[in-house]
Subunit: 345 residues, 2 copies
Amino acid sequence: MHDAAPAQSATLHDVAREAGVSIATASRALNGSARNVRTENASRVRAAAAKLAYRPHPSAQAIARGSTRTAALVVGDVADPYFSAIAGGFSQAAEAAGLIVTLAVAGRSPQRELEIVRTLRGRRPRVIAVAGSRVDGADTRGALAGELEAYQAAGGRVVMVSQRDLPFGTVTVDNAGGAHQLARALAGAGYRRFAIFRAPASVRTSRDRCEGFAAGLRASGVTLDDRFVIETEFTRGGGYEAARKLAERGLDGVEIVFAVSDVMAIGAMTAFRDAGFVPGRDIAVAGFDDIDSAIDVTPALTSVAVPLREVGLAAMRLALGDGPATDTVQISTGVVLRESTPGRR
Amino acid sequence: MHDAAPAQSATLHDVAREAGVSIATASRALNGSARNVRTENASRVRAAAAKLAYRPHPSAQAIARGSTRTAALVVGDVADPYFSAIAGGFSQAAEAAGLIVTLAVAGRSPQRELEIVRTLRGRRPRVIAVAGSRVDGADTRGALAGELEAYQAAGGRVVMVSQRDLPFGTVTVDNAGGAHQLARALAGAGYRRFAIFRAPASVRTSRDRCEGFAAGLRASGVTLDDRFVIETEFTRGGGYEAARKLAERGLDGVEIVFAVSDVMAIGAMTAFRDAGFVPGRDIAVAGFDDIDSAIDVTPALTSVAVPLREVGLAAMRLALGDGPATDTVQISTGVVLRESTPGRR
DNA sequence: CAGACTGCGGAATACGTTTTCCCGGCGCCT
DNA sequence: AGGCGCCGGGAAAACGTATTCCGCAGTCTG
């Protein structure tokens, strides 16, 4: 069964010739068009296709029908569990819909993100989903929106994940609400002296979580000392640095730090430990996202569960759904208390 | 500057008309072909392209020149840090080379992997890299190899990551060597009673690491009791389960467990702790991969560092290089001792 | 039994590029 | 001055597929 592989793979033309029909009939037989073809011809074509190991040329199909079968996803960084979980859900849903996903990594730079969307648009995918850096105030932002609008006007489908304020389909995470609940839960557990590790204000996710948390504290009658709202990078390293500095000052009386993401929180815990403080005993730590490793660190990390896979799935569903192009889906979040915040008596 | 976006994006035809030249000239001006075009015409064309926001249609280009600008990567699971780190390196290198990466998730099923490669092949990417499940003995294996061979014969470039025994470009991780060194280091630290958590023998990575480790123990004069070579799933859950069972039997005198991957090791540490044993004190644990979170768990996990990003980069370099199609690059590994294996005195 | 209609096959065209081929003009050499 | 090579422009073919349009045979209707 090992015939010499033809250097050039078979085309529809070859299949048609092999089956003794015209190209048109072969095409119709292979991709169930509106038109019928006599069953005998159809099976002859299928047999020929199988024999020649024919694969349709997606580019040619794309050109002929004016649309592709791809879905594009742009993320900040695949290696970040936040994005990779979303990507996992997205690609699962894409696959179920028979779409191929092309992945682009923006590296957290809005400039790069813009470039990517530009070239992506040229490739005319069925949907473009942006789960990007969400830096607002950037001057590239208008350009990005313009690019996406043009794409949508040309029949494309765009979905933003957790970027609420653009006129596109959006799947949003209840960042503020989750942070609010977390704050109330922690205040209820007896904590009073809070620190927050946050990313620069331009990062929307961070800002929303931060504000929600602050509101939750206010609602619980706890005052937050602005000195302890520490701005750092939105990465593990950022969390580590912030914690290191706080530890250097002997914790300054802080009882608990809320880091706006789990990776930051985990970095912070390691920094505290490196400085000789025991997380969960000397200082409590809470994060956000509930990534997988939250339960594997010690003490297990209190967090706000964000069903990230679900976010990816929802993005694809939204894109494929027939609702208005600007539908919004809100993914809800839930507090998960663990040993990193044992509570104070 | 906000002209109404044309419903249909501009084609090369439009650009040519706008610039008052022929399509051929426009094409030549825009993609620096071998042929020269008078500078005045060239700049007129560029201006027209800019004005109309022209983007070449990649599918049309693909069809016309018979090749695409994409690189395909198939991984087992994007959400797994092992794969996502590789994907990160791969897409970085792809981007640098002006390639777009399409990502497919095989979900650790060889059957699915085969299907994916089939459809991927149809899309005629420049390169196909498979960082898949590496299950061998499966009957789909021959089919996979055949599919890839045909693709390569048709001018494609295939790279396998850590799948040494197929006639393709290969980037390989020194699994056996790293495990061997790790075994020697641990034996040198005084450990004698080892357990190994491994995946089914059909998973090559696991087998190589396991065999390397066993050889290292032999070389150190330590005998390994087969009863403690425990087969489980190649996931965090697998590690957790195996550790849970071992803990139920009171550890059976085991001093240290080597799990063939960090995610398994981390799951195991959590299981031990859940069962009341303190990892690093009651039982030592070592893993493999040195994923990011290895330093954030407590105690920090002893592991074998695999520069996974580098693996992805190397895969792309190999694909783009002009060496023989079956070149092999070996990525070396290095032991990293941490607190999870404090050593026995 | 004539005419209309249906069902299906095939030729041809379209999709947006790249590339080959041809052609005219210009400068250079003899 | 005439021939030759070179340069650059445009027409057209090619890439592989989907689809429109046309025509033919067979079937149904009146």
